[in-house]
């Protein structure tokens, strides 16, 4: 926990505000956001062994921290569109001002404080919160004077796609991840409200991930098919991760690109499969995520392995189709958020599939195309939304998000 937060939680602001004159009298204390129910300051340091306790993820650095951060419980992806007048005028200055406003929001909200001007600062909390900001295709390119990252383009249409406009596209992205839906939702509402002079909400997509075990230790987590999902990812902090994810040169250095695919998963038909069929569709075991060719969760698949004259990992197994060795070593860094949207009409289940890569066209597209040609998972999965964003580089204290591109 960063020092400023430890302090912040101890301090306990007490405002002089009378929240609504109706409160009458002279008191009406508000703003004691850092206090517990007894009005006592909360201890700043986590209890021993409490690895699972939410922390502050520092907002500053060469990269936006939300990309590499271990997934906390709740993810919201939020797309906004610039207001017509801002878009028509190609108003770079307005875009820069929005990013400045958001910078302050990100700094305070992720630290567990209300945003400047927050109407409900009590909803802010230390919650592993990260807010990752990106720009969509509509604000990149010559017209805006903002070069798109190398290889940045819309994902070409796939045969299996059933894309819906209401889950696709967008000029601006907020990718918000945190320990609980209350904190995440508050951050989203706050930042959407603060964007009002510049941009309007296009869509919000919410999902969840169980990235920790009972002891609070980080684990890979599972999608709604029950599969351990993310095992073969490059590990943050490694050279492989850095070369897969971060843009190295130019104004976007330190940034990356994100493809979001909203992928519907047909659980009732998946449930009809035998466990062996389910495992064969990917090439990994359901219980621990280990390859069918042996080893443990982190082990690579042995794609050459044969038994009884057949491939152990089937030809159309998802992990074979997407494996780096099938793509000249090309990799992506995947994150997920399981969603289940329940309406009176029924429920839709699926995965908010997030792919981060330095070069969208070179890395993501061939893998996605290979899946589209053939992949066992296609039978139970359908992309119903798609969006692409260039994720801004990080910023240091005193700087603002996007200054490298708009400053």
């Amino acid at each position: 926990m960063s020092p400023s937060v430890g302090r912040r939680r101890l301090l306990g602001y007490v405002g002089t505000a009378v929240a609504g004159a109706a409160a009458g009298a002279s008191a009406g204390v508000v703003g004691a956001q850092a206090l517990d129910d007894d009005g006592r300051a909360r201890p700043g340091a986590p209890a021993p062994g409490a690895d699972a306790l939410p922390r502050v993820v520092p907002a500053h650095g060469p990269h936006q921290p939300g990309v590499a951060a271990h997934l906390s419980g709740v993810t919201e992806l939020v797309a906004l569109d610039l207001l017509p007048e801002v878009r028509r005028a190609r108003d770079r200055d307005a875009l820069a001002r929005l990013l400045r406003v958001w910078t302050g929001d990100v700094e305070s909200l992720t630290a567990g404080r209300g945003a400047p001007g927050d109407t409900a600062p009590w909803l802010a909390a230390v919650a592993d919160l990260t807010v990752t900001v990106g720009l969509g295709p509509g604000v990149l390119g010559e017209e805006w004077g903002i070069p798109a990252p190398v290889g940045f383009a819309k994902v070409p249409p796939m045969r299996h796609d059933r894309l819906r406009e209401e889950w696709s596209g967008g000029d601006l992205l907020l990718l918000v991840n945190g320990a609980d839906a209350t904190t995440v939702g508050h951050a989203v509402r706050r930042m959407v409200a603060d964007a009002r002079p510049f941009a309007a909400l296009r869509w919000r997509q919410q999902g969840a991930w169980r990235g920790r075990d009972q002891q609070g230790r980080p684990v890979t987590g599972r999608n709604l098919f029950g599969q351990v999902d993310g095992s073969a990812n490059p590990r943050p902090g490694t050279d492989l991760f850095d070369s897969t994810v971060w843009i190295r040169d130019g104004a976007w250095a330190g940034g990356t690109t994100l493809v979001l695919r909203r992928i519907r998963m047909d659980l009732p038909t998946w449930d009809e499969l035998t466990r062996a069929e389910q495992e064969a569709s990917v090439g990994r075991r359901l219980d621990d995520g280990a390859p069918l060719t042996g080893g443990h969760e982190r082990s690579d698949l042995d794609l050459a392995a044969r038994a009884d004259g057949r491939w152990v990992v089937a030809k159309d197994a998802h992990a074979r189709r997407t494996h780096p060795s099938s793509h000249g070593g090309r990799r992506i860094f995947r994150k997920g958020a399981n969603y289940e949207v329940v309406t009176p009409a029924g429920s839709e289940t699926g995965l908010l599939f997030q792919s981060f890569q330095r070069d969208l066209t070179d890395q993501f597209v061939p893998i996605q195309q290979a899946m589209d040609v053939s992949d066992a998972l296609n039978e139970w999965t359908t992309a119903v939304g798609s969006a692409e964003f260039a994720v801004l580089p990080g910023f240091a204290e005193g700087q603002w998000l996007g200054h490298q591109l708009l400053g």
């Binding site: 960063s2 020092p3 400023s4 430890g6 302090r7 912040r8 101890l10 301090l11 306990g12 602001y13 007490v14 405002g15 002089t16 505000a17 009378v18 929240a19 609504g20 004159a21 009458g24 009298a25 002279s26 008191a27 009406g28 204390v29 508000v30 703003g31 206090l35 300051a41 307005a94 820069a96 001002r97 929005l98 990013l99 400045r100 406003v101 910078t103 302050g104 700094e107 305070s108 630290a111 404080r113 209300g114 945003a115 400047p116 001007g117 109407t119 409200a193 603060d194 009002r196 002079p197 510049f198 204290e397 005193g398 700087q399």
Partner: protein, 237 residues
Amino acid sequence: MNLSLPTPARPASPGRPGRRRSASAGRAGRRTGAAALALVLAAALAACGEEVAPIEPTIDPAGAPAAADSLEVHDPWVRATVGADDTTMTAAFMVLDNTGDAEVTVTGARAEVAGRTELHEMAAVDGQMVMRQIRGGLVLAPGRGQMLQPGGSHVMLMELTEELRPGDELDLVLELSDGSDVEVSAPVKEFTEEAGHYHGDDGHGDDGHGDDGHGDDEGHDHGSHDHGDDGEGDEHP
């Protein structure tokens, strides 16, 4: 109602950029009473147009710990005036922490874009919320924090010479009783609550910030209430 809580330890890092600090001997002697403050301020403002210092805190070369070194400013922001009924005034909000061992008093503020700047608080008077100048400045006991926020205390910026658009940065200087300054760079934000909660019907609106209120050198009490005449709200434990 200015309750505060103790701060145990000095933090290692401030919360938000935009905190700037500069020592300025020229501001000494601003320990005037509230009634006189406005006049002095108006005069002083003419001279204020100094360049803003870089963000890194500077240590007073003289060695004496300036009050500015103890005052931390977090999450400052200023309400945008674009689209407001009255675009000649607005308010700045922030969180102030006194991280030092001595009392810190914010006596005033200045900003290039504002012809007049005052420290205001809200008070209930006859069941009505009114704003008035903070008597004796904003006093922060050692280790105490104070929020300036809508509906509460704020830095009132009047006679604005520019429209403030969301996302603009406004440079503001807080003046402390020992003559030191704290420079704050605050983003301008649209105010998303109903305007009436903050300024409006009962406060600046009715009794006219524009003409008979702030525009006039002694009318800073927003509706005929003397500054602190009831002592309410000015206790700092």
